[in-house]
């Protein structure tokens, strides 16, 4: 008996030692990668890290210097840039809406068991992968070249990416859907669209909604960034305000404030709603 016990113990100790060794090696590799990556990035950067870290507050200080004497004008600037903010939000909202519609279609077509054409699920999956992989800026820049600057290229670019991203999440939700309602509907002769609309969508809509809301939050940020490369909205105004340079940063400050408040506002609201949705035990 005791022989087996020591054997067992030795085995266990050896196992733990090996696990620790592996863990240690992984950690060492990770640390090495981080350090060498950091050094490399530092050497490829125009300004070094240790010089730059001292100047991090230069720009905020410059912005504050320009803003402080003109604090009374700040509310005026906030009002001036409010329409651009609305445009940024509209881009995000429409893109999320369109992305949700296409994402729903793609997800239904790519989920096994409920797909319209079961043989093509793989194809639709690949389509979603590609749509998801295309960064918004690529589509936006190409469309800006063709359609000119403005909100439409940004909207299409974000919607394109959103369709793929939501499609993947939605199809994961679909996989957990109960197929009995679909069978029931099929037995009374419902077409595919009816089976989906009446059998699947009511089951999955709370989760869809929660994901779409999260996506809306992400898309607000994306739409602000795309504005910076010429696609309208708050980002575009920010680029202009920045290009006027030192002495005129008070307008940039107003845009920073608007953007920050918007992001925090929607962040809080959407997490509140999502918590309530999941809190109610939707699934």
């Amino acid at each position: 008996m005791s022989f087996v016990e020591t054997d067992f113990r030795a085995n266990y100790v050896a196992l733990v030692a090996r696990k620790r060794l592996y863990g240690g090696i992984m950690l060492a590799i990770f640390a090495l990668l981080m350090i060498s990556g950091f050094t490399l990035a530092d050497s490829r950067n125009a300004g070094g890290f240790w010089d730059g870290i001292l100047n991090v507050f230069d720009f905020p200080a410059a912005v504050w210097e320009d803003t402080a004497p003109k604090l009374d004008q700040l509310p005026g600037h906030l009002v001036t840039y409010f329409p651009s903010l609305v445009e940024t939000l509209n881009i995000a909202a429409v893109a999320t809406l369109v992305g949700t519609i296409f994402g729903t279609l793609l997800s239904l077509l790519s989920t096994r068991g409920i797909a319209r054409w079961p043989r093509l699920t793989g194809l639709f999956r690949r389509v979603m992968d590609i749509m998801r992989a295309v960064p918004e800026i690529v589509v936006a820049l190409v469309l800006i070249f063709v359609l000119g600057g403005g909100p439409v290229p940004a909207m299409i670019a974000i919607a394109f990416h959103t369709s793929g991203a939501l499609g993947k999440l939605f199809s994961e939700v679909n996989e957990n859907a109960d197929l009995k309602p679909v069978e029931g509907l099929a037995s009374v002769g419902a077409r595919w669209g009816q089976r989906m609309w009446l059998g699947i969508i009511p089951q999955v809509s709370p989760n869809y909604f929660s994901y779409a809301l999260l996506r809306f939050e992400i898309n607000i940020r994306a739409s602000a960034i795309l504005g910076f490369v010429g696609a309208g909205g708050l980002g575009y105004e920010l680029k202009n305000a920045m290009s006027w340079g030192q002495g005129k940063y008070d307008e940039a400050a107003a845009i920073f404030i608007l953007l920050f408040l918007t992001i925090v506002f929607f962040d809080q609201i959407s997490s509140h709603i999502r918590n309530r949705l999941t809190g109610e035990g939707a699934h």
Binding site: N45, G47, A93, A133, R221, I225, V229, F260, D267
Partner: protein
Amino acid sequence: MPTDVISAGDLRARIDTRFARKKALAIGLPVVVAAYLAYVFFAFDIPGLADRARMDNARTLTSDMVSYKTHVTRDNRDGTTEVSIEGERKGEYPPGVTPDWVDMQGETTVIDLGGGQIVTFLPDTRLSVELPDFGTIEAGMEGRDVVTNLEEPVPDWISLSRTRLAITTDEGRVSFTRNRTEVFNYFPGWELFWFTFESPYKDHGVGEIVFGPRIDPERSNFAGAWHDFWHNTMWSHSHVAWALFETILMAFLGTFGAAVISLPLAFLAAKNFTPLGPLRFALRRMFDLFRGIDGLIWTIILARAFGPGPMTGALAILLTDTGSFGKMFSEALENVDGKQIEGVASTGAATAHRYRFGVIPQITPVLLSQVLYFFESNTRSATIIGAITGGGIGLLLTQAMITQKDWEEVTYYIILVVLMVMAMDSLSGWLRRKLIKGE
């Protein structure tokens, strides 16, 4: 035993109201969405889009993506003629070598555009263009003016002014001014993608390079071909590879740096680990602040301090994600099962051991999968941030787009970016399965 008995009428009424509500929602929601879309239709000025859209740009873009043009240019001041791919010095044909559709004989150059269209550069800055279904156009200089045998009105594919004659046919383009005569001939494909004209390996197939006799006596075929491909001046593959690597580096440093920084902070912000309310509150607001200052704003602030480059992008990602991770990690920590910690504590373990064996094993899978998800999506963000700060493939992409002519390069970069993101996607998925499920 039911405590309240519902009469049939009551039940019917209740169900009726529910149905009515559902019906109202089923009609109301699409109506609201439609109204919103109608508002946006005008807010985005979609009706005016058709006027603003540049269909000629779209045509240039789609044709340039899959084709290249070869320029035949005569400098009319000194009479020299050059042939080059895309009109770039790097793509120039070596002296004495011409494509077979160009025939240079002294001062005369005969260019066969295909379809029977023949352009001839004649001595004394003269030009003749033979078009089978139009006739022969002759042009020359008289003093400072362009003179031709064309009669007004000219067709719309010819543009003629005192200083310039331009002819666009379905085979190519001809332009003639006092200083230069230029012919563009279009071909499908991406020319010089593998080797430029300087390389001895150009026009040799893969089989020849790998198995054939040594082409360049100085070096082995494989090493030489790789060197010439990698340092191809037209496509600069080595630069592109570097840029891709830089983008991934930004995402890697940003994501994992943020994870390393926010893990200890998350402990301090979690209710069950930090009894100090004010500290928790301060940290949570700090996470909100870092998250709320969008990546765009961080990028602008940091670019001022650190200058353009991958470090700036990495730090921008790091700061934004520190906020997100701090919030997510502290929420995960608040949801840990207290029983395991108690179990470890009952063995007399010190605080550090309680965390190490009671907490870390519980949260590692959750945190790791979140970090890997972010890593994947940050590869995309790094492309965008790179376009703004100037680093990585994002910079190359915007630069190629701004010139508005290198669309084949833009296509090449787009394909690479998509492949890169998909590769990172599968890598992070594979790591998630490997590390978390232990498959």
